[in-house]
């Protein structure tokens, strides 16, 4: 209590201190008058200051004073201040940008009071005991039994749908949810209304939808969007609501559209045949709830256990060994890039580290600048020190100046990065395999705090060393010494050189990493797929999204092939389940079937064919294809025949296959594969029967990640059914394939309105739009930007140090010119010295770059850990830049006028 009173009095003093100080002065003067001293005798200032210290505001006075002084110093050298602020803005900006992304994706809670939201999971008795989703009746019983602990308990089923908002239909993430779903997340809608309990009722089939905020923006951000129709799979849905901006549910990314649970039938795809949602044995819902704020965890666990037991007793056959647990909603980030998790982690680490390196380069650069300024400041510091300024006080003064610069830089960086982060996130959107909702990455207190932290950290790194170096000298001695002698004491120069070496090394690291990404991006764009890219179009369809069964699906595929063949300008059409670069890739273990006489299958005994050579099996991409597949891809038949029309229909006698030369070479090296038999080892039933190889075609590259050539096996449409298929078209010579995209899209729509085209694109666009290519491109862009910034900073650093050195040695150069040194010799000397530190920096930088190459090798497509081209180019750029940066100061050295130089000090 006493402490609080004391602080209140202190604050009161702070607020009225001018008046109070005046009172103190009057009082002390009165005191002196009473002592009998004449008025105006003696100085009460010092005594007053000491008395004032009692209030404990000295530090604030000092801070204000330091800051004022720092402002004055910076105003006096605006060039320096500007350079420093820009440098810091760049260095801090890239870090805030990256931090904003991490914050938005990983740190910021997705919804309010996130610790109250839990996921409820259920397990059933084994063997084996395993986790199970909820059926709707189980969910309802759970909800009714837990009203004491949950404020809201919702259920959801998330999956992919074909979404058509008036353009080309596309695959989108969707969630069928209970009426109270949004309340669980305390997430009000931006517009419209929640679902009603009537809409939730299973089988209600009331077709209404809530759309995500980005989708709403895409539709024109118009309030009249409410009431508008969107098409999901085959049905029209009325938009009744728009989710709050940035709302993604429990995970990132979130769905684009939410349906009421009662309309979930729309949802089913080939993997999920139609089943009644209200059956107790159909377990497809995930359950998430918000605990009441007064719920104790032990209590909640006990209630869940009771409800679990009750459900088991009531439905022993379905809920045997039922137990319920709750946990934090997991899987905050889904759809990490397709690469393995180890590689993803490395990429993320890299993305976090690189901005830090840029900031380090910026700090080294500023330390350089501050040291160079030190020679201007030394006299001033010496005077202040001899007038009684303590070392700590002087250091603090220099640190205050540094902090002022950092905060100014940080402020600008904040503005820059707010813009850059939005752009970066927008560029990430197409990286995701489907359209989804991404969270908000705008500024919040975490980012502001992060900016402060980065600014403080930067200040400590760049200002501390020079401050200590400058104040550490015997300052009084400095004052006496003639400042012209300082060239002989190269301590500052040496530190400067070390800093420049560091900058050059780190810049080389960033430049070469950017170079590796760029090489990889170029390599990926110019990849030789092994087939003709030009003049090719693709159309992706999936009749299962319209809930077509196999026979209707087959019919849809065949009709589409037929109709597209009739489009003018189309030369050939085929269809395939796993064409190259479509990121669909079913694969099979293929083994030769039958013995040496398998060449004549009708003569071979059945037993021989069954004698599969398991050890010789080869992993091959399995693709169901139509006729003319090789022709459309521009591949010649290397032997045998194409599939026949009869083989396009199911139940057409002998099982046949076309394989590529890569598979043939692996199965029967050096022999003719035609007419031999193969078998799928991992297949069951009729699929396991041997297939006769009837044709051989050249191998193609399947995806950027797979080595080329990768073995393929093709079977005709009739032998296997896949719903999701890609139609492949080759346009006639001289025809502009891009111009045909529109007409072809219309034809597909006309054929069967209920089977939307999920994508219509040219081969080349499709390849370039692939996930792998885009990741590499974004990487190349980001790293090149980092490298560019670092290069710019390194040039500034070299220039700063060289200018400093030359200005310190004006006198020396003057004397040398006066006694007859050729200006060119001086020029060479300065350049040589610059060259030396550049060489050392590049040496160290090459080692760092080799390490980074090792690190990047696994992530990047088609790049070796040592790429001489990249290393040499990066090194040359740096050499050229640093020579240029030393050339201008060197030129200045040769222009020294001896008379002026000798008189100058």
């Amino acid at each position: 209590m006493a402490i609080i009173g004391e602080w209140i009095r202190r604050l009161g003093y702070l607020l009225r201190r001018r008046a109070l100080e005046d009172e103190l002065r009057q009082e002390m003067e009165a005191h002196r008058a009473q002592m009998g001293e004449p008025p105006g005798f003696g100085n009460t200032l010092r005594l007053r200051e000491e008395a004032r210290d009692a209030w404990g505001w000295r530090w604030l006075d000092d801070l204000v004073q330091d800051t004022r002084f720092a402002c004055r110093m910076l105003r006096r050298s605006p060039g320096f201040a500007l350079t420093a602020i820009v440098t810091l803005a760049l260095g801090i900006g890239v870090n805030i940008g990256m931090f904003s992304l991490v914050n938005g994706l990983l740190l910021r809670p997705l919804y309010e009071d996130a610790d109250e939201v839990v996921q409820v999971r259920s397990r059933t008795a084994g063997p084996p005991a395993r986790g199970r989703a909820f059926s709707y009746p189980n969910y309802r019983d759970l909800q009714e039994g837990t009203t004491d602990i949950f404020a809201n308990l919702a259920a959801a089923d998330t999956g992919f749908v074909g979404l058509d908002v008036g353009e080309t239909p596309r695959r989108a993430m969707a969630s069928a949810v209970t009426a109270n779903y949004f309340q669980v997340f305390a997430a009000p809608l931006a517009h419209g209304r929640f679902f009603t309990t009537e809409e939730e009722r299973p089988g209600a089939a009331i077709r209404v939808a809530i759309i995500s905020y980005p989708l709403w923006e895409q539709l024109g951000a118009d309030p009249s969007t409410l009431g508008r129709l969107v098409r999901i799979n085959r049905e029209y849905f009325t938009v009744v609501g728009v989710a709050r901006q940035g709302f993604t549910g429990t995970s990132i990314p979130g769905p684009e559209v939410w349906l009421p649970l009662g309309a979930r039938e729309t949802f089913s795809t080939e993997d999920r045949p139609e089943r009644p949602v209200d059956a107790r044995e159909v377990h497809e819902l995930s359950v998430v709830g918000r605990l009441r704020s007064d719920t104790r965890i032990e209590n909640a666990v006990a209630v869940l256990a009771t409800v679990g037991r009750r459900l088991e007793q009531a439905f022993p056959s379905i809920n045997a060994g039922y137990s319920l647990t709750m946990s934090k909603p997991s899987a905050r980030l889904m759809f990490m890039p397709t690469a393995g998790t180890g590689e993803t982690a490395r990429l993320v680490l890299l993305l976090m580290l690189m901005p830090a390196v840029v900031l380090l380069v910026a700090c080294l650069n500023l330390a350089d600048l501050l040291l160079a300024r030190g020679h201007v400041r030394r006299q001033e510091l010496a005077i202040r020190s001899s007038l009684g300024g303590g070392r700590w006080r002087l250091t603090r003064q220099l640190l205050t100046e540094g902090l002022l610069l950092s905060l100014a830089g940080g402020g600008i960086a904040l503005l820059l990065s707010a813009w850059a982060t939005k752009e970066l996130l927008a560029s990430l959107r197409p990286l995701l395999p489907v359209a989804v909702t991404l969270p908000d990455v705008s500024l919040d207190w975490r980012v502001l705090l992060g900016t402060m932290a980065f600014s403080l950290l930067a200040t400590l790194v760049f200002a501390a060393a020079p401050a200590v170096a400058l104040t550490g000298r015997a300052a009084a001695a400095d004052l006496k010494r003639h400042s012209g002698n300082e060239g002989r004491r190269p301590g500052g120069v040496r530190i400067g050189n070390v800093l420049v070496v560091g900058q050059i090394a780190l810049s080389l690291l960033l430049l070469s990493s950017g170079g590796l990404f760029m090489m990889s991006a170029i390599g990926a764009t110019n990849v030789d797929p092994g087939f003709r890219l030009d003049g090719g179009l693709i159309v992706q369809v999936d009749p299962a999204l319209a809930r077509y069964d196999e026979s209707r699906g087959r019919q849809a595929h065949l009709t589409l092939i037929d109709r597209l063949r009739g489009v003018p300008g189309v030369e050939a059409v085929t269809i395939g389940s796993s064409p190259p670069f479509t990121s669909s890739g079913d694969s099979r273990d293929v083994a030769p079937a039958g013995g040496a006489d398998a060449r004549s299958p009708f003569g071979a005994a059945q037993g021989d064919r069954e004698r599969v050579e398991r050890s010789r099996s080869v992993d091959a991409v399995f693709s169901v294809v139509g006729r003319d597949y090789a022709r459309v891809l521009g591949l010649p038949m290397l032997g045998g025949r194409d599939f026949s029309d009869a083989e396009m229909a199911p139940g057409s006698g002998e099982r046949v296959a076309i394989i590529d030369d890569a598979l043939a070479e692996r199965l029967w090296p050096g022999e003719d594969a035609l007419g031999r038999w193969i078998q799928f080892l991992d297949a069951k039933g009729p699929e396991a029967r041997p297939l006769l190889v009837v044709g051989i075609i050249p191998a193609v590259k399947h995806s950027l990640g797979t080595p080329r050539p990768y073995p393929h096996v093709y079977v005709p449409l009739g032998q296997h059914y896949e719903s999701a298929m890609t139609l492949l078209l080759r346009v006639a010579e001289g025809q502009d394939e891009r111009a045909m995209l529109g007409p072809i899209g219309r034809v597909v729509r006309d054929v069967d309105e209920r089977v939307p085209a999920l994508s219509v694109a040219t081969w080349r666009d499709h390849l370039n739009a692939g996930l792998d290519v885009r990741i590499i491109r974004v990487g190349a862009g980001v790293f090149s930007a980092f490298g560019g910034i670092a290069l710019l900073l390194a040039i500034l650093g070299v220039y700063g140090v060289k200018s400093y050195v030359v200005s310190r040695r004006t006198r020396e150069f003057g004397i040398r010119i006066a006694i007859g040194a050729h200006p060119r010799a001086l020029l060479w000397q300065v350049l040589r010295e610059g060259g030396r530190i550049t060489t050392i920096g590049i040496g160290i930088g090459l080692l760092l770059a080799l390490g980074a190459g090792q690190f990047l090798q696994g992530i990047l497509y088609g790049v070796k850990s040592i790429e001489p081209v990249v290393l040499v180019t990066a090194a040359l750029i740096l050499v050229a830049a640093s020579l240029l940066a030393s050339y201008i100061p060197a030129l200045r050295a040769t222009g020294v006028d001896p008379t002026v130089a000798l008189r100058s000090e």
Partner: protein, 109 residues
């Protein structure tokens, strides 16, 4: 910190509180009182007195108010607060304890 008086640290504040205990006084009068009451042994310079007074203000042990003195001059008068009285009692008790302990020790040795 008191310098010229040669008083142990903190003692000056106790002395100021002690002279204010009987009546409110202004700065010069406080110095005078201490001088007189100490049988002219202790002299308090303004350089020590005013920082000590400011500290007493911060702590809330005294309050200050302007008043016209007998000579008609405006003076700032200091008055002890209840908290100041409590503090004085505590400090005097503590000082007595210390002084007697030190005295005993010096006599014994």
């Amino acid at each position: 910190m008191p310098r010229e008086t040669g008083l142990p640290p903190g003692t000056l504040m106790m002395l100021v509180l002690r002279v204010l205990k009987t009546q409110p006084l202004h700065g010069y009068a406080i110095a005078q009182r201490i001088h007189l009451l100490s049988a002219e042994q202790l002299r308090v310079e303004e350089g020590s007195l005013y920082p000590a007074l400011q500290k007493l203000l911060v702590k809330g042990w005294v309050k200050a108010a302007w008043r016209a003195s007998e000579s008609g001059r405006q003076v700032r008068e200091y008055r002890i607060t209840p908290a100041g009285r409590r503090q004085l009692e505590a400090e005097v008790a503590e000082y007595r304890r210390m002084a007697s302990a030190i005295g005993v020790l010096l006599d014994e040795a």
